[in-house]
């Protein structure tokens, strides 16, 4: 190639007359890009203290520190991430893993200081920190530091499509609404192994759920065991705190899933379904669990009621070596769960699996034995060293409006449908109530209508005092009921049951609800008396709540048992009532009214009983 010329370069002399490109810092500033990865911002209100940011940090730059000024909600921690900017590499993995999306990066990047300790910093954002985050007029780049930053200066932010966790759960196979409403077949089909492992993989192991669970199950551990494809290990972990996994795996109120980090911006981990998977997959509990009752102590305990509370108390006490006899008037275990929840939610086989295992440990079950009828309470007190009351709420309440005596009550209706001879239903049914029991009743009535009048137009409608936003049934129950075709009439209250000339039910006259609760949050409904609505229906079922039946207790005992303001049996931290030797748990004690809280009560009570029997404080 020819040698280039010497004069060519002179062409660039023109640049002498151009403006310089250099920024005259600090008079001219360069705005960082919209996505800039600078110092952290953390919205303390959204942050749950889950610690996933600290776990993923490649440089161990994040430490979770306790902030005593924060009062954590259930399922949250009062810990917040603290950054060490001597280590941080501004990669933003913490942002992409943050489940609530509270952690973000800002466009600030200045911090100059002689004191190395100032580089360790617990970030917040402008919402809660006026001193650090300043409006434009108060901000000066000459003072810029970790403690002198711009407001509204967010940079790299979380985006759910690029999150490092999976917000979508593995779908639970279920019978479609059109099909399931024609029979009582179990709706949820359960995960298979591959699905369960895939779902378990989503768990971030932050364990916020374990604090939220009333019985504090070691959820992260048993989910991890499912992920490791070892359901036996998982079952062993579950049984440390919960002896009725087949039941809870179906009908648990899953406080854990409400607290699940993944639920904030996605669907919570299907903890309940994974528990069900474990209990369904392990065929033989005895071989998997390898448990045996403890050394005999010679003490005997009577448990009244074979519901979740009673079953769990019996299990925990039996493991401690005590002799336990469980009394229940029904023909099998499960208590209210045996007669309440419909077959499509909780088949008896699942209940029996759990009960049989507890029986196999040597717990003596006396079914079809009603205390107060077949055996006197006083006899039990003489014969046994301690008594546990796990009697549950067994009596349905009535609205007591005019002609309410013509209506059916929820519990007998549900109980009868669990037997071979089901209830007769007309083509139009009204259910009063907006709770989960009302949903059970309505969905059963709807099924019975479809079985009884195939192809005909039938209708089941519910009436509830509460409007959509405060209706007490769970979201999924409402969703499933609507899928099946249940009609809802929220914010209407019953005024009178209307009869026809023959004295048969013709329908329900309703009035518009003004408010359900008073200013202090107590139940005190008010109505617009002038706004009325008439609902047609040949049958009305009342499902507005249940009460306990203490009639089996002798008067002198009943007088000594104290109740709380919420009409609950008062127990101490060991589960003992105000009568020494009588312990209690479950729906008559707690306000949650669910199985897992009953298990928590049972755990406290069984430890209390054990302590009390060995001569400790009751």
């Amino acid at each position: 190639m020819a040698k280039p010329s010497l004069l060519g370069p002179l062409r660039v002399i023109k640049y002498l007359f151009k403006k310089p490109k250099t920024l005259r810092y600090p008079f001219e500033l360069k705005e960082p890009a919209r996505r800039y990865r600078g110092f952290h911002l953390n919205d303390w209100d959204q942050c749950t203290g889950c610690g996933n940011c600290a776990d993923i940090c490649p440089n161990d730059a994040i430490e979770m520190v306790e902030r005593p000024e924060i009062a954590p909600d259930p399922g949250e921690k009062n810990e917040r991430p603290r950054l060490d900017y001597g280590r941080c590499c501004f990669c933003g993995l913490c942002v992409d893993i943050c489940p609530p999306g509270s952690l973000r990066l800002s466009r600030d990047y200045f911090h100059i200081h002689f004191d190395t300790s100032t580089f360790v910093f617990t970030p917040r954002d402008e919402k809660t920190d006026d001193e650090t985050f300043l409006p434009a007029e108060k901000y000066s780049v000459l003072k810029a530091s970790l403690a002198h930053r711009k407001r509204d200066y967010q940079g790299f932010e979380p985006e759910i499509d690029y999150a490092l966790f999976d917000p979508d759960r593995v779908e639970m196979p279920e019978v479609p609404p059109e099909e399931r409403k024609l029979s009582f077949v179990e709706q949820m089909l359960g995960y298979d192994r591959e699905q369960a492992v895939r779902e378990a993989e989503r768990c971030l192991e932050c364990a916020l759920c374990e604090d939220a669970c009333p019985a504090h199950l070691k959820i992260s551990d048993y989910i991890e065991a499912v992920y490791e494809d070892s359901p036996e290990d998982s079952l062993r972990t579950i049984y440390e705190d919960n002896p009725i996994p087949a039941i809870c795996g179906r009908i648990c109120m899953k406080h854990c899933e409400d607290a699940c980090s993944l639920s904030i911006r996605g669907e919570p981990l299907a903890i309940r379904w994974l528990k069900r998977f474990v209990s369904d997959t392990v065929r033989n509990y005895r071989d998997a669990l390898e448990q045996s009752p403890g050394e005999p102590t010679g003490k005997r305990i009577a448990v009244i009621g074979a519901g979740p509370g009673g079953l769990s108390t019996a299990y925990f006490l039996r493991l401690l070596g005590h002799e336990v006899v469980v009394f229940d008037e029904l023909s099998g275990g499960g208590g209210m769960l045996r007669v309440g929840p419909p077959r499509y939610r909780l088949p008896e086989e699942a209940i029996d699996k759990d009960v049989e295992y507890i029986a196999s440990l040597g717990v003596d079950f006396r079914f079809q034995t009603r205390v107060g009828r077949d055996v006197e309470f006083e006899e039990l007190r003489d014969e046994f060293d301690a008594v546990f009351l796990g009697i549950g709420l067994t009596v349905s309440r009535s609205t007591r409006v005019e002609n309410a005596d013509r209506c059916q009550l929820a519990l007998p209706f549900l109980a009868k449908n669990k037997t071979e001879e089901k209830c007769e239903v007309p083509e139009e049914v009204i259910v009063i109530g907006g709770g989960n029991v009302a949903m059970d009743v309505a969905r059963e009535a709807l099924r019975l209508q479809h079985i009884r009048y195939p192809g005909k137009r039938t209708v089941t409608r519910t009436v509830s005092l509460e409007d959509w936003d405060e209706i007490p049934a769970t979201e999924e129950e409402i969703e499933e009921a609507r899928e099946e075709g249940v009609e809802f009439n929220p914010a209407w209250g019953p005024k009178r049951v209307v009869l026809d000339d023959q004295g048969n039910i013709k329908g329900l006259l309703c009035m518009k609800v003004n408010s359900v609760f008073d200013e202090e949050g107590r139940f005190a409904p008010t109505f617009h008396e002038d706004q009325e609505m008439f609902l047609e229906g040949r049958m009305i079922i009342e499902a507005i709540g249940q009460g306990a039946d203490f009639s089996f207790l002798p008067k002198e005992v009943m007088e000594r048992i104290e109740f709380t303001e919420a009409r609950k049996v008062r127990v101490n931290e060991n589960g003992m009532t105000t009568v020494p030797g009588i312990f209690a748990g479950g729906d008559i004690v707690n306000v949650n009214l669910d199985a897992v809280t009953a298990i928590a009560d049972a755990k406290a009570a069984s430890e209390g009983i054990d302590q009390w029997l060995s001569g400790g404080e009751g």
Partner: protein, 365 residues
């Protein structure tokens, strides 16, 4: 004449980066050269054996500060190949665009280093300024100027922000508009020709014997480019040329760099035209539980300095079992450099080293 031993670097004005060469000289002629790396050895490969698959992602880019992006690509594709992760097509296009942008940025940096070392301050300042414009684009796309932490297993970390394509095209046009000035000032400058032509000459056979790739090989007339011979990302989706030169000296290598930059810019325009819509990321498994099946893989790509390879072994665990980067500067800086320096004058040591585009952190890893 008396033989002297001369320590060239790591503190030396003609040396870019923390690297040194022990020279045996006679007069100002080099008789023997011993490359001496290690000033930057950070043991990345060992560190990576102790971090989970995702925690290594923000780290690999740090192996080479000049062009971190091809490191990210090598790691991401190796992990994808071991774990069987698919990458969406749009992400493949974005990867190619991003990597070509990185090549332009890296070459501009190299041009700065080279022309600065030769004393062509004007071209050096321009190159640095234009590289800064490229960094602005990276900042907008990824949130980081130097370490972009952008290509991760499964795709890329974010899609283009709104209006990015327009600014990308504008910036590249404004840099491209300066090519005639660059040529006049530097590439067609007689002084550059006199300093670089015939210097540090390597024949085609020598280059291949010593594992040469990239400009070192292409300047000897071999159109060897991994983007062509084993296409990855979206390099097989648009037509483009591999620029070569014949002489194998510093002058040819720098001209190959220049032509490559221009080719890269054209390729970006073509890729932008062909780029499909859609997702840019297939979610990886939960990083806290991510284990990759037992196996080994070797992946390679064309970095701005030559062939970059990664040998990655998994023992089925949550961390790599062995990571070994085959960086292009390794043979260039340790084998070819030692050969190319022999017989040259001391004043051309930096000239040859930078024309081979030896980046010390890449050797040390």
């Amino acid at each position: 004449m008396r033989e002297l031993e001369l320590y060239f670097g790591p503190q030396h004005l003609g040396m870019v980066g923390n690297f040194s060469i022990t020279l045996k000289v006679e007069g100002d002629r080099v008789v023997k050269a011993d490359a001496n790396p290690g000033y930057l050895h950070r043991g990345f490969e060992k560190l990576m054996e102790q971090r989970s698959w995702i925690k290594n992602f923000p780290m690999v880019c740090r192996i080479n500060v000049v062009e971190p992006d091809s490191m990210e690509l090598a790691y991401a594709t190796a992990v994808e190949s071991l774990a069987g992760i698919e990458v969406p097509e749009r992400a493949q296009f974005i990867r190619s665009i991003y990597l070509e942008l990185a090549r332009v940025g890296s070459h501009l940096f190299g041009l700065w280093a080279y022309s600065n070392m030769l004393g062509f301050d004007t071209a050096a300042q321009w190159a640095m300024y234009h590289r800064d414009l490229v960094l602005d684009l990276f900042e907008e796309l990824t949130g980081g100027r130097v370490y972009h932490i952008y290509i991760w297993p499964g795709g890329v970390r974010r899609d283009f922000p709104e209006g990015f394509e327009k600014r990308l095209v504008e910036t590249l046009h404004s840099i491209g508009g300066c090519v005639p000035d660059y040529d006049a000032c530097f590439f067609d400058n007689r002084l550059f020709y006199d300093r670089a032509a015939g210097i540090g000459k390597i024949t085609r056979e020598e280059a291949m014997e010593m594992g040469g790739t990239g400009q070192a090989l292409r300047a000897t007339g071999v159109p060897y480019d991994v983007r062509k011979i084993e296409p990855y990302a979206a390099y097989d989706k648009v037509p483009w040329e591999v620029p070569t030169r014949e002489d194998g000296d510093a002058f040819s290598r720098i001209w190959v760099v220049r032509d490559e930059m221009i080719e890269s810019v054209h390729m970006i325009f073509k890729l932008l035209d062909e780029m499909p819509k859609g997702d840019v990321y297939n979610r990886i498994p939960n990083p806290f539980k991510w284990r990759i099946p037992e196996g080994e893989t070797y992946v390679r790509c064309e970095s701005s300095r030559g062939e970059l390879g990664l040998y990655l072994v998994s023992d089925g665990g949550d961390k790599p079992y062995r990571v070994h980067f085959r960086t292009p500067s390794y043979p260039h800086g340790l084998t070819i450099l030692e050969k190319a320096l022999v017989g040259e004058s001391i004043s051309d040591v930096g000239n040859i080293m930078i024309s081979l585009y030896v980046v010390a952190p890449e050797i040390d890893r």
